[in-house]
Every structure is written in C-alpha cells, then in structure tokens.
Symmetry: C2
Subunit: 720 residues, 2 copies
C-alpha cells in the first residue's frame, strides 16, 4: 500500500476551474467590491449613517442603492444601522422640501436645476459634522448618491467636499432597436431584455437593475422599441406591458418612449390614409396619445423613423418631415411629451450622394418644427461607420432643436467580440468645430445650447443591451454603455477620464490593472478603423448583417448600398470625391470647414478618402504612397489587436478568472477577424490597384475568390 502514495493526487484549491469562481459581468460598473486600497476606517469616519427624511419611491431607491453600495464596499459590516438623529458621520440625503435638515443649511441649489445634485461636507446648527447629498428634486438626490458611491469606489477624498453637478442635456435616451418578438436589430447581446410575453404579469428583477445602471450614469429615458416600428405596441394590451416597465423605471427618473409607426392610423385605426394633414389622422393620433397618457402619465413621447429605408412617412402624402413631425408634436404637447424625428433619410430615387441627402431634405425645414420636436441626427452623414466626419446638419439648423444619435451597439465595428471603446469616436465627433455661427462652436456646444430658452436638448444612443448575462455581449462593450451616459450628461466629457473611471469601477481600482486597460481602450477604436476602413474609407462591410469584409460588393439594388459606391477604387486610384470636382458634399459644411476638407493639403488624413479620390501614387504624410499606406494601416490594425492581446495576457490573475478568460477569447476572435479583414481587403484592393505589396507586408494567404466565397448567413442582428 505504501507504493500507492506515489499515485495520490493532492487536491489543491486550483482544482476548481477559475471560471467557476469569477464574475459574470452582470454587476456592470456597480460591483461595490470590498475596498482594497483604503482602510475601511477612513471611510467610516465620514460615512457612518444614512439619514433620509421624507419618503418617495426615488428616495427609497437612493436609500437602497446607498445600502447596497456601502454594504458591499465595507463588507456588510455595520453600515446602515442608522441612528435616530444626525451625529458625526451622518450622510443626509434629500431636498429642501422633504428634508428639514437640508432646508436648514440654506444651500444654494438654483443653479443645479431639476436634475442636478450637490455633495457638501457640512455642519448642522448643532455643530454635527455631516455630508449632505442634496437636489432640488429626488432624482437629483439619486444621481448624487451614485456620484458619492463612485467617489468611494475610486478612492477619492470624502472630506471637505463641495461638489455640484448637473446634466447639460435634457433628453438622454437609449434607443432599443428591439422587436416585439424579442429579436434585436443590430443586437449582439442575445435577445431583447424586454420579455414581452411575460409582461405585465412578471417584472424581471433585471428591469430594476437596468434602471439602476442607467440612473447611475444619468440616463433619463429609454425608447423601448425598434425605429423600424411595429404599430402593435400601441394596442391597449401592449400599453399595459409598457406601463409595467414604466412603473419599474419611474423611481429611477427614467421615462419610457415608444417608436410610432407612421402608418398606424391605417393599420390599427382602419383609416384609409396616414396623411398628417388629414384631420382624421391627427385626431386618431391625438386620441391614441391621450390613451397612452391615461395609462402612463409620465410617458416620454415618440421616436419616429419616416420615409427612410422603406418606412412609411409624410412623403407618402407629399408632406414634409416638419408636417409629419408636427402632427405628433401637437398631440404630445398638452402632456409635455417630446417627439424625436430622425434625420436619417436617403431615397432610392435620389441619385445624389447619399452623404448630402439628409441635409438637403432637412436644412430647408429649419424653423418649421414645433418646440417639442427634437430632430435626431446621426453623428455622421452615412451610418455609424468606424470613422466619419461630423454630420453637416450640426450647426446648420439654428432654429431647430437637434439631438445627437450615436450607436453603442457595434453594427459596423465587429459586433460583440471586437474590443472597441467608442468614447474616443464620440469625443472626436463632439469636439468637432462646426464654425456655425462661428469658430469654436463645437458639436458639443451646439447640442448643449437650447435654440431658445427652455427648448429641448438631447442625445440618443442605439443600445447594446440584451439578455446576455453580461448585458452588452462583452465585458468591454459595457464601457460604451457607460460612456454614453457620461457624454449625454456632459458632451464635453473626456473619453480618457471616462475610460479610467469605468476601468476602475469595473475591473478594480488598481493602477496596475486600470493603466493597461485604459491604454487598450484608448487605442482600440483606431485599431478597428485601421483593419476595416483606414484613411477615410467607409461602409465596406458585408451585406445585410455587416459582419466581415465585403469591399467587392457591387450587385445590390441601390447604388449606395454597395461598398464600391463608397471607396470608388479603380485602376487609377481610390476615394470618394466630395469636393467641388465631385459631389460637392463639402459645401454643406460651414465655409471654413468646407475649405479644410476640400484642400488636399489640409484635410485630416483620417478623412482623406472620405472626401477625395486620389491616385494610388498619392503621397501621404508618412511619405508612402496611398497604396502602400493603405496596406500598412491594415497591418498596423492587426498588430494593434495583437498588442492588446499581449497587454491582456499580462493581467491574468489580476482580475477575476472568468471575465479575464472571456476577454482573452474575444481578443483571439478579434485577432483572427482583423486578419480576415486585412487579408480580404488587401486581396481585393490589390485586384484593383494591380500594385505590388510594399516590402515586409505579407500576401494574403488565399486568393480573392476565397474571401468572396465566405458566407455567414446566421450572423446576428440582421434587420427583419
């Protein structure tokens, strides 16, 4: 028997797979893990008790969050056993209306508006040292509680505080492109989180966590349904389902919105027309809106996609977008509702540069929209590409409230498995100078400035949220949801700061962890640009699902659906001439901007091929000709992913095993697919340019036909 000892396996702790012990990512940036880098006692000195006066669902939510957060951060030890009066170390939350303590402090709250908050270290009349989290309304208090919890997690000082903050935009909404059967158009994170079949009877606790996450970053609205709209959601039995969600979200300051199908009066109402100037149509919508507000008194309003990609709209009746939008706006106005009208239009019949069509249709309508209309404009004139110049409509409709539409879900950036932090993309768009009416008027400034006092402002983003346990399809895609909230709250926010905050909240507040993560994030979108669409190329993705490369596609019915329409590569050169010698799309920008984009010497190289058709021999800033530069960029995109892999591998053991392994595997997928993009694109463009690869750059391992033959019919997120 002694011999057997040699065969014995010791069972070490490592026998349990690391994955089993890890986190799923469900907790997002609200993990509230025990503090590691600051002594609990240092926190307890300031934060011993929570004092809430008055009661409301929002205060209850703030209280619950405070308890959850501090309970986690302080290992559930002791916090929350509140005293009956404020003593040193009390945190007092509320408004002057519901908290006599706060009222007694004489805080100046006017400047923070209805949603702002103030966090201040203070003393009561009795000299008790307290921390005050105050707002004019309860929602401000909730935002303040989230801000305070963030400070604790980020090891920021908790004493001598005098902080105030308020959102710069009024409407901060997610757009869910979710169908009633739970399919999510451009969704890469599972199904819709709205389990319509079980609503209203069952309210998944996940809805509450969704509301918490959104409130924590200041999002105050959610459009539940796809812009390619289905009128059925307006039926009474569906409104009951919507109401159930609204009831969950209300304490968190989140209003629900729906997409309105323009033809609903025909489909639901039995009318013969949906003409917005037909009194019966207007009456039908008015009655429908009144019905909605009876069910959901704080309903936010509608989002409408009209006369775009096959959707019905006012043009079907030879009416303008303004006439269409105003009909809804008039029905919503008595209830305080908002009408968001998308400017994303381009027409099958219109042979003009797609880049120009939205401007051409909307700019002349400036001033014709009602006060409660927000025209929702995508960041660029085409469609959520890895890189686009800012949309020429920004600044061009000074009498019309415009809101920004960004896309969080990565339809054109590799779906869930490509790591691409979009904060840098959005920052680039927001800090672009429109020069309208003058230099310095960035897109951010334009968005934040009401066209008249009290007019609406806003930002929308197409959500990347689904039923996956990690919400967004990948751990790093959570950062894009997070960044949306931060930019909607403050369009002048900095992508780097947001990345640092997110990394620390999500992966642990250790510089050895956050440093490499932020580094990966900040370069990640440029990597995607390089391996998909470098030098100002765009819209080269495969047809329909947009998964993988398709620069050769040229057989689709509408010219502007074909990648060849966008790159215009031929034997002589590559790029889309949008200067005066071409489509003159540049003329839609302010003269200063147009002059810069038109000038080959001044156009930023990142937009070179967006605005110019250049010969393959054109010399770029690097000194290489554009062909060599193109290949070089493709390869540097792939190399950047390899570099992210190396960075991530060094973090093994520094973050939990399950999430670490998921990111490792996703980066490996991204690496393979970046290589696919590079190889397929180089093979294709070489077939056009007929030029040799620059030295040191490998030939694609397969011929072009091999890449063209790849089919991925089950790639997720297709429209249907």
């Amino acid at each position: 028997m002694r011999l057997l000892l040699g065969f014995m396996l010791l069972l070490l702790s490592a026998a349990l797979p690391a994955a089993a012990r890890g986190e799923t990512g469900y907790d997002l940036w609200l993990r509230y893990q025990p503090l590691e880098h600051r002594p609990e006692e240092a926190v307890r000195k300031t934060v011993q008790y929570l004092v809430v006066q008055g009661s409301s669902p929002t205060l209850a939510a703030a209280t619950a969050e405070f308890r959850r957060g501090m309970g986690g951060l302080l290992r559930g030890n002791g916090f929350g056993v509140a005293g009956s009066a404020p003593r040193d170390g009390a945190v007092v939350i509320g408004t002057p209306q519901n908290s006599p303590i706060i009222a007694s402090l004489g805080l100046k709250l006017a400047a923070i508006g209805p949603e702002g908050y103030l966090i201040r270290s203070a003393r009561t009349a009795e000299g008790v040292r307290i921390t005050v989290i105050a707002g004019n309304q309860d929602i401000g208090v909730l935002y303040g509680v989230f801000a305070f919890l963030k400070r604790v997690q980020l090891d920021q000082p908790l004493e001598n505080l005098d902080i105030s903050d308020a959102p710069k935009l009024k409407v901060r909404v997610l757009n869910h492109w979710d169908n009633l059967d739970r399919h999510v158009e451009r969704g890469y994170a599972g199904q819709s989180i709205w389990d319509w079949q079980k609503l209203p009877g069952y309210k998944d606790p996940r809805y509450t966590d969704y509301a918490r996450a959104n409130a924590s970053i200041g999002i105050n609205g959610t459009v539940l349904t796809n812009v390619n709209a289905n009128a059925d959601v307006l039926r009474p039995e569906w409104l009951e389902k919507v109401k159930a969600l609204a009831d969950v979200f209300r304490p968190y300051g989140i209003k629900v919105y729906l997409t309105a199908r323009f033809s609903a009066p025909i489909e639901l109402g039995g009318l013969r027309t949906a003409d917005p100037l037909d009194p019966q149509v207007a009456a039908w919508w008015k009655a429908k809106v009144d019905e909605i507000y009876r069910v959901i008194p704080d309903f936010g309003g509608f989002l409408v996609k009209a006369n775009s990609e096959g959707q019905p709209g006012p043009a079907d009746y030879k009416r303008s977008h303004a006439e269409g939008a105003n009909m809804f706006a008039d029905a919503l106005a008595p209830h305080g509702g908002v009408l968001m009208w998308r400017a994303f239009v381009y027409a099958a019949e219109n042979p003009d540069d797609r880049h120009k069509q939205a401007f051409a249709e909307f700019q002349p309508l400036d001033g014709k929209f009602r006060d409660n209309v927000l025209v929702q404009v995508k960041n660029g004139a085409i469609d959520f590409q890895p890189r686009e110049p800012f949309h020429p409509l920004f600044g061009a409709m000074p009498k019309t409230p415009l809101m920004m539409e960004f896309q969080i879900t990565k339809e054109y950036l590799g779906f869930a498995t490509h790591l691409a932090y979009l904060g840098t993309m959005w920052e680039e768009a927001l800090e672009a100078d429109t020069f309208r009416p003058r230099k310095g008027t960035t897109v951010a400034k334009m968005l934040a400035t009401p066209v008249e006092p009290g007019a609406a402002t806003g930002m929308a983003r197409v959500a990347n949220i689904g039923s996956d346990v990690n919400w967004s399809g990948s751990q790093f895609d959570q950062a894009n949801w997070y960044a949306f909230g931060r930019f909607a709250w403050d369009p002048d926010a900095r992508a780097g700061e947001i990345a640092r905050d997110w990394a620390a909240l999500t992966w642990g507040n250790d510089p050895a962890v956050t440093g490499p993560i932020v580094n990966m994030m900040m370069g990640s979108r440029e990597a995607v640009v390089d391996y998909m669409t470098p030098l100002g190329l765009g819209h080269l993705m495969a047809t329909g699902h947009h998964y993988g490369p398709g620069p050769w596609v040229s057989d689709l019915a509408r010219p502007e659906w074909n990648p060849v329409y966008y790159h215009k590569a031929d034997a002589a050169g590559i790029g889309f001439d949008r200067t005066r010698t071409g489509t003159d799309a540049v003329a839609q920008y302010a003269p200063e901007v147009a002059a810069q984009f038109s000038d080959l010497k001044r156009v930023p190289e990142k937009f070179l091929l967006w605005f110019h058709h250049v010969p393959w021999t054109y010399r770029t800033a690097s000194g290489r000709n554009v062909w060599d530069e193109l290949v070089t960029r493709y390869d540097s995109g792939v190399a950047a992913v390899a570099s992210m892999q190396a960075d991530w591998n060094r973090l093994e053991g520094k973050v939990d095993g399950r999430r670490w392994a998921e990111v490792r595997d996703f980066l490996a997928i991204q690496r393979r697919e970046a290589q696919w993009w590079r190889d397929a694109s180089v093979a294709y463009f070489q077939s056009v340019s007929k030029r040799p690869l620059p030295a040191g750059h490998a030939a694609p391992p397969h011929d072009l036909d091999w890449y063209k033959a790849i089919r991925t019919p089950y790639a997720p997120g297709n429209g249907k």
Copy 2:
C-alpha cells in the same frame, strides 16, 4: 432640531429589495447550499478527504464537482485539503484500472456495466475506514460522485453504504430544437444556449454548467440542432463549432448528435437527388460522416425527421423509412454511431385519422431497420398533448429498437409560466401496459428490454433549455429537465420520488418547504389537463404558437391541424370516435387494450372523448352529464391553480425572495390564463351544445367573439 427626529427613517435591512438578495435559479439542483439540518461534524466524520488516483478529464470533473459540492455544503471550511494517504474519512473515487486502492478491494463491478457506479463503505487492507465511489469507467465514477453529493444534500445516511446503480437505457438524449440563428422552436426560455456566432473561439462557461447538470442526472447525449433541420450545420466551419461543444461535454460523458437534413446531398453536395438508394447519395453521406468523425471522434450520430410536416425524406423517392434510415445507419455503423429516426409522420394527402398514420407507416417495417437505428416514437400518437394514451407503436415492433420521445418544453402546456410538473404525465405513459406480447409489458419494460442482446435502447426529450438565467424559463420547469434524466436512467422511476428529490435539492431540504411544493407539483399537470383539455380532449390550442385556447379553429388547410377535427363537438355531442364505429384507431393496440378503450364502460374517463363521441347527456362517473362534467372540470382546473397560489403564498420567507416572487408572479399569470382557457372553452362549447351552465358555474364574462378575437402574434417558440 429635536423635532426632526420624528422624520427620521431608520434604515433597516429590509430596505434592500428581497429580490436583490435572492437566487436566480442558475444553480439548478446543484446549489450545494450549506447544510442546515445535520451537523457538519456528522458529515466530516465520513467525508474528510478525497483521494483520486490516476487522471483523466472525467476524473478531474468528478474531483472538481466533489470539491465544489462539499465546499458549498460545508461552507468551504476545510474540506478538500487532502492527505497524502487514505486515512479514516477518505473518499476514494476511481476504477479498478486507475485506482490501486479500488483494485485491492475486489469489488464486484460486472453487473453495473460501463456507466454504473457503486458506493460502498469499506476498509482498506490496513483497516482504514473509507468510502469508495467506483465504476468500471470514469463516467460511472462521475455519476457516483453526483449520487453521493445528492445523498449529502438530502441528509441521507453516509455510513454503512452499499449502493449500486446503473442506467436501464443506453441512449439518454436531449433534443434541442435550436436553429442556427439561435431561435428555439418551441423554446420558452430565451434563445438557444449555443452561441454559434462566438463558437468555436469562445466557449461560454455555461456550456460546462450545462454538462454538469446533465451528467448529474445521467444524460449522456445531446442533439444540438432542430429536427426541422438545416444542412448548413454539416459544413466544415460549423463542424468546428460542434467540435468545440463536444470538447466541453466529453469529460461529462455527453456525446453530441446532429440532425441530418435528408436533402443535404442536394443542398451541400450539389447532387441532383437525395434518393437513399442512389449510390452517389450514400457515398456522399458516408464521406460526410467520415469527415464528422475525423473532427469529433466520439460523435454520437444523427437524428432525422423525414417526410413529416414538410421535411424531405425517402418517400420523395418512393423509398421507405427503413431504406432512408438504413442509409445513414450504414454510414454511421463503422464509427459506432447511432441513427435516430422519428416516427412522427402524418401526411397531407392521407385522409385517415392522424392517430393511425405513424403506426400504419412504421409497423409494417418491423425488422427492416439496421441494428444501430432507434425509431423515436412520441409518447402519444398525436403530439405532446397535456394528456394522450400511449402510442400504439410501443410493443408493436418487437424486432425494432424503439426509443421514447417526450417533450420537456411545454409547447401545449402553457409555456414557461404555467406550473406543470410532467413527471406524472411521463409516469402515466411509462407504466401503461401494452399487453404486447403479454400482460405486464409496460412501455417502460418494453423500452428497457433490448430487442436482441446488445441492441440499443433509449429515451429522448425535447429540451426546455435556453439562455434565460434560470435555464428553463421558470424555476419549476427545471423539475421537468431533472425528471427527464431520472426517467431516462430508470423508466420505472416514480414521479413522486423524483419530485421530492428535486424539491429538496432546489428549494431546501425542509419538509415544511418540500411538502407543499411536492403537493403542488403532483397535482399540477392534472390542473392543466382540466383547464385546457379535460376528459380526453386534445389539440385545442390556438394555431401556430399553440398559446391560448382555439377550440373553434376550423379554417386551416389540413383537416388535422384544426381543433374541431379533434373534439368533433356538435349539437348532439362531443368526442372523437376511434372505436370500430369510427376510425378504429383502437385496433392498433393489443386486443386487450383495444377492448378496454373501446368499451364505454371500461375506458378510463380521462380518455373518454379521445376514443368516443358521446351525447351531451352521457352520464359520467360523477353522475353529471358530460356537458356539466366538462364545465365542472374546467372550473376545477382553475381552482387547482388558485390552490397552488395559496400553497405558494404560505411559503413566503421560507425560500429566497427572488425565486419566490418569480413563482408567485408566474402563478398569477397561470391563474389568469387558466381562467382565459376556461372561459373561452366554455363559451365555445356552449355555442355548440346550446346547453345551460350547471348551477354554481359562472357564465364567461365575454361573448365567444371576444375570445376569438384575441391574437398573440408574438408568442414565442413558433416554428420558422
């Protein structure tokens, strides 16, 4: 300031919503919560160390599970710090081949076969007291470890053990009706858990937990794809995805199977025909099978749905089901693969009672199938109704291996939100006496008896597993997954025992909890029968999705798709005459069974209207006429749900809040929908019978047209 004290809210622990503290159900019946009802020390006396000799992926899985389980049950305190030699309290796991200790004990393992296990309290030659978990193969060891952990959780004795167990059926497979785009036909638990887009690069840890759960109940195979098959899964790039799953499942003894689309040689191979007797076709399949086995050496085989509901099959070429099945079987045989061929066929052109068609087509083929074919027969002759008599094919093909096909997903039993424990349904089918070849030959016995020594036996069930965090769409639907494993392991298992085990493992081993839960479960399926299809009615569900009542539907293209085909209610009476005066379907059963079903005096009342058309005045066992009895049953079904609600309400606080609240809400949905079923059905049948409601039974609150107008186009799980 003192006045303010009155406004203070004390923050009690209750401020955190109960839901936030509860379980999601993800852990299934493998929760391994700390022992509550027996002192840890009593367990530790017997279970102090785990000793594993040899190594294999399956032994590693067994080891990990043991550590996970005991670590949870004993609060992670101390267990698993193994000594270097067996001492008192060691648990020794392994086979005689890989464990010298086990080899030295001279255990008699022949009887337990390749998958069985033995658990025995023993002493080594040195007199050390150990517990042995042994098998002939590692998979038996893993099954034994799960059985041992179950004993610990159920507070069963751990000393003086002498247990052996082995499965009675060889092939124990789940059938996933999962499409390649993740849509699940008849799925009510979210999307497919197979995230094909991310495979093979990313293996979701959930796949491992799926394998653990299945292995814990003895399931040894999984058909990954829908029986309405898609040939694309046979493409090389998809086989790589399948391989990734097979690699995860292999250590858990689970083989992967695929559905084979009969026309794949045309669709993938470019052949002009899929005629099974065409040598090119057979050669194509042989090459494809060889290719699969090169990728997945332990591939299980194919499941084929042919010439049924529009699927292609051998009849397209005037070949028999046997000729079709044998072609696949011949390709699979050299690799040890199995071919499962569904007997679920009925033809648009065949005017005969649908009940008779599978028998008519398959019974004459008895003896014509290859040895490695399993003909897969649904439990009843129609289609997974809340209640059906057993399928007449059972016992009627003595020379052909038949396997049972049950449905776990509740396509016809209210989807995820209706609590219906199916164990009682399956027990009813399995204990039915076929009288073939003689009295006492139950369906269970027939399934477990190979048609010749070494021939295959098996049981399949259509899975209810999806991407929902609770796996099955509801907490209680997990019980049906669990029960499948138990019945596949032992078709003579008892539904009540299974319910007790599941309830204790899933909700806590407290009789005050398990008693009411088992009580709810055991009556739950009968409640569904009563409020949907009492007295032997069937197939009255709404068209397509089968959600909600549709007894009035009569306009579908094929007669046997219409509910009116099944109930045949008219002014005179109700029921389907399947006796000699009708379609004579009873003649397909053994004479003794046929005699019983044919005889109005002897037919079990639960099958009355399945086999007989009776006048509304027909007197039932209760003394009521059949009309009054029908209404009474509908109402008692609703009342049974109300009773479950009351039972469940009394459990508040005795189980975790989140799962409790989910079940509460689901029961409320079930109550409303049971009422809907009752009201709509009564309104409809009254419109036919023209009879007054019996005293004490309320009229439906709406007229029949109101119920007919209900449309639920987005109900989940539709085929597409």
